[in-house]
């Protein structure tokens, strides 16, 4: 093989090896860091895994918000019209957190199927309904129908 070809082959092999490693790493990282969303109905029915990091959320049930008088821990219920789940969160609530508002959070379920949230998101627009929550509500109201989800 002449030196030019040899060099080119080496470069190409290096490239392929690099890309291969990168793809493998990327897929591994992806697999480790995907958070599935479970609707309150799915959490109540036991479909959602316990102790694993998931996303959960729904509409904050009016009148359910309770505050720990000494710290920053709050509890409230979220619902999708079918199931209702208790959420516990310690920290500062997002600006747009309100009863009746759709919220999504990441966290884990404890043994009592309470959602212990690490992070809560209520997006920047007060009319905004997180796509996941919209999806869950649509599903709860029209069983069997395919909800449109995010558009």
């Amino acid at each position: 093989m002449n030196p030019v070809r040899k060099q080119r082959l080496l470069l190409i092999l290096l490239l392929i090896a690099g890309v291969g490693v990168a793809v493998a790493l990327a897929l591994f990282a992806l697999k480790e860091n995907i958070n599935h969303y479970y609707s309150p109905a799915q959490i109540v029915s036991g479909e959602a895994p316990i102790g694993q990091k998931i996303r959960g959320g729904g509409v904050v049930v009016p009148g359910s918000l309770k505050r720990d008088p000494n710290g920053l821990t709050v509890t409230f219920n979220v619902s999708d019209g079918e199931g209702e789940v208790e959420v516990e969160y310690t920290g500062i609530l997002p600006d747009l957190f309100r009863e009746g508002q759709g919220i999504v959070g990441t966290g884990k379920l404890d043994e009592k199927r309470r959602f212990i949230a690490e992070e809560l998101l209520a997006k920047h627009d007060e009319n905004y309904m997180p796509p996941e929550v919209q999806h869950a509500i649509d599903k709860a109201h029209k069983p069997g129908a395919n909800a449109e989800g995010a558009q």
């Binding site: 060099q7 690099g18 890309v19 990327a26 995907i34 958070n35 920053l72 990441t106 905004y128």
Partner: protein, 671 residues
């Protein structure tokens, strides 16, 4: 009348853009000089009419013309005048108008500066720019007309601008970002024109380079501004969230950075030609893709204003047309553009290839992470989200590798180098960097954090290599000063930008690894300790702003019993939209930010308060400023202008160009 005038001007601009995309192109194939030159006047006309249209919209905002639907939904008579102007690009329609204004502005500058280019090339470049604007102008006219009226019953007052956007950062962030996005359209147009002509030499690269670098500098500044805004306005104290909208701007930046480096090789060594073209296409396509992600309503965020499926379809169709057409052209024409020069495996070329591979891989990683949830959702496989750990896990190691390759790349010469020479040059730099990183890791903070130690090690590495390189380049001159004077602006620009990267690394490593945070309940008079600081909460008072009510808190910060700062975080409620907003109280410093945000009232004058100490967080944006300035400095290099003339003269002499064989001059120093 005014809005109609604006719309009319916009329609005229569209007609001119249509002409611009056809006439010069036809001229370039039929050899009609007058047709080719028409591109310039058409570009100017298009710019003037778009500017007129944009001014009409600004005027409608200033005049509180709530018969215009867009004004009614994005402004309010109580809004301060400056925000009335910036509200022009606060919503979907107006920001598209700004996009197209920026594009025609770039077109105008290209027209002004293209007199020295071969007429065919400048005609084709302007034609391609015309095509790009036709697409966007049609998009505005067909789906997002900002001048739509609300008649006969206009509202008494407007719905106000989103409070998050009533802010200094928002005044400058979108125009900067658009300058970058759209600037890559010029690089794209140059690439397409080169493909059409089937020829690409180092003169071409020298023309295309400054445009790319300037666009990149603006995009860098735009992203940094966005990050800075998110930091102080969202009240979380984070500077990068791996939010899809942020990723949408990061991807063209990564591809654009790769393009800049690949163009350097194309100019200096006549290599990587097809790759450069492909990158130019990819960078602009990613800019369009970013626009699609943000504008189509696929994502929901502060940037995604309305979800109108028609808009999404239009941008998607447009994107596919651009990508499809340019890749087809590439497939047919790229084989004509071959590089026949070889280089040694250990050479600057190889290291720049490594740079490109790393940048493109990280770009693909970001793309995968951003698109995966959308993909899964589209296939109806459930709802997932990809968390920041995914991005950090992949992006951080690649950034570190990139920094390492950067050092070697700067040190190596073009064409060939030897291992022994490289080792001899860099061994001390390497040892000092490794020791520096280790020492830092052990001494700073409570525990050894590997990624932070590596990050700081890389900072040492980059900075020392830069110094070593400058030393190598000046030691043969008569004295340091004479040597420094001999180095070219493009060299200084490059080193400044690389230094900026190191500075950003400091910010990322320090604020990422050693930030301290506490959320707590505070009563007036309470003192909370965080790090070496003590925060005293002095209570909250009511305040009135022009269009909002605020609960303004006061915190006094002490260090070693001495007062160092008084912070005023606010919780605002904007009257019209009833929207609450957090204004963080920040004491900025070069080595640390003290950052306080108010949460919610907990009764009895107690408040939820979030305290942060962010070491070296300013370095993040400082580094970005250095990078952007480095880009601009590099462009100021004389060779981009003088050679331009010489080359054009040569071209004219050679006349109807037989494809030139042999070597194109590679003079002009390294850098």
């Amino acid at each position: 009348m005014n809005p109609e005038l604006g719309l009319f001007a916009l329609i005229l601009a569209t007609c001119l853009a249509l002409l611009q995309s056809v006439v010069p192109l036809v001229g370039s194939y039929t050899g009609r000089l007058r047709w080719m030159n028409a591109g310039r006047s058409l570009a100017t006309g298009q710019f003037i009419f778009t500017l007129l249209s944009f001014s009409c919209l600004v005027y409608a905002f200033l005049a509180d013309d709530f018969t215009v639907k867009y004004v009614a939904s994005n402004s309010n008579s109580l809004l301060p005048a400056i925000y009335k102007v910036t509200a022009t690009w606060g919503g979907h329609e107006g920001s598209l108008l700004l996009w197209i204004l920026t594009l025609t502005g770039w077109g105008q500058v290209v027209a002004m500066r293209s007199g020295k280019l071969p007429p065919e090339l400048s005609a084709r470049v302007l034609s391609v720019l015309g095509m790009v604007s036709v697409g966007f102008l049609l998009f505005i006219l067909l789906t997002s007309n900002p001048f739509e009226r609300l008649l006969p019953f206009p509202p008494q007052d407007g719905a106000d601008l989103n409070p998050l956007l009533q802010d200094l950062g928002m005044i400058v962030h979108p125009p900067m970002l658009y300058m970058g996005y759209v600037g890559f359209a010029v690089a794209f147009a140059f690439a397409i024109a080169a493909l059409m002509g089937g020829q690409l030499d180092s003169a071409w690269a020298r023309w295309a380079r400054p445009w790319t670098t300037v666009a990149w500098a603006f995009l860098t500044a735009g992203i940094a501004l966005g990050s800075w805004w998110a930091y102080y306005e969202l009240g979380w104290g984070g500077w990068w969230f791996w939010d899809p909208v942020e990723n949408a701007s990061l991807m063209p930046w990564l591809a654009g950075t790769a393009l800049m480096h690949s163009l350097a090789v194309t100019e200096k060594r006549g290599l990587f030609k097809s790759w450069t073209l492909l990158l130019a296409i990819a960078t602009f396509s990613l800019s369009l893709f970013g626009t699609f992600l943000v504008r189509s309503g696929v994502l929901t965020s502060v940037h995604a204003f309305a979800s109108d499926p028609m808009r999404g379809l239009f941008v998607l169709g447009y994107l596919m047309l651009v990508v499809g057409a340019s890749l087809t052209l590439f497939a047919f024409k790229a084989p004509e553009i071959r590089s026949k020069i070889t280089f040694n495996l250990l050479s600057r070329e190889t290291l720049l290839l490594v740079n490109n591979v790393l940048l493109i891989t990280s770009c693909a990683t970001v793309l995968l992470g951003t698109m995966f949830p959308l993909l899964v959702d589209a296939l109806d496989l459930g709802m997932v989200s990809v968390g920041p750990p995914y991005f950090n896990m992949l992006f951080v190691p690649m950034a570190l590798m990139l920094a390492f390759a950067l050092g070697i790349g700067i040190m190596l010469n073009w064409k060939k180098g030897t291992v022994s020479w490289l080792v001899q040059q860099l061994r001390w730099v390497f040892v000092v960097s490794a020791l520096g990183g280790l020492a830092f890791g052990f001494m700073y903070g409570d525990s050894f954090v590997i990624s932070e130690a590596l990050g700081i090690g890389m900072v040492f590495w980059i900075v020392l290599v830069i110094l070593k390189d400058i030393y190598n380049k000046t030691r043969n001159a008569n004295g340091l000063f004479a040597g420094l004077k001999k180095l070219k602006p493009s060299y200084y620009g490059m080193q400044l930008a690389h230094f900026g990267l190191a500075v950003t690394f400091v910010g990322a490593a320090m604020s990422g690894g050693y930030s301290e945070q506490k959320d707590l309940r505070m009563n007036p008079g309470d003192i909370a300790e965080l790090g070496e600081y003590a925060f005293r909460f002095d209570g909250v008072e009511q305040e009135h702003g022009p269009n909002y009510m605020a609960n303004a808190g006061t915190l006094t910060v002490f260090k070693n019993q001495e007062k160092v700062a008084t912070l005023h975080p606010e919780k605002r409620v904007y009257a019209v939209q009833g929207m609450p907003m957090t204004e963080a109280g920040i004491d900025a410093g070069l080595t640390r930010d003290l950052y306080v945000a108010l949460g919610e009232p907990l009764g009895d004058d107690a408040w939820a308060v979030r305290l942060h100490i962010k070491p070296f967080v300013r370095f993040l944006w400082l580094g970005a400023i250095f990078m952007a300035l480095g880009g601009l400095l590099a462009v100021s290099d004389k060779r981009y202008r003088v050679r331009l003339k010489k080359k054009a003269a040569n071209k004219a002499a050679v006349a109807k160009g037989k494809a030139r064989k042999g070597k194109t001059a590679v003079a002009g120093g390294r850098a």
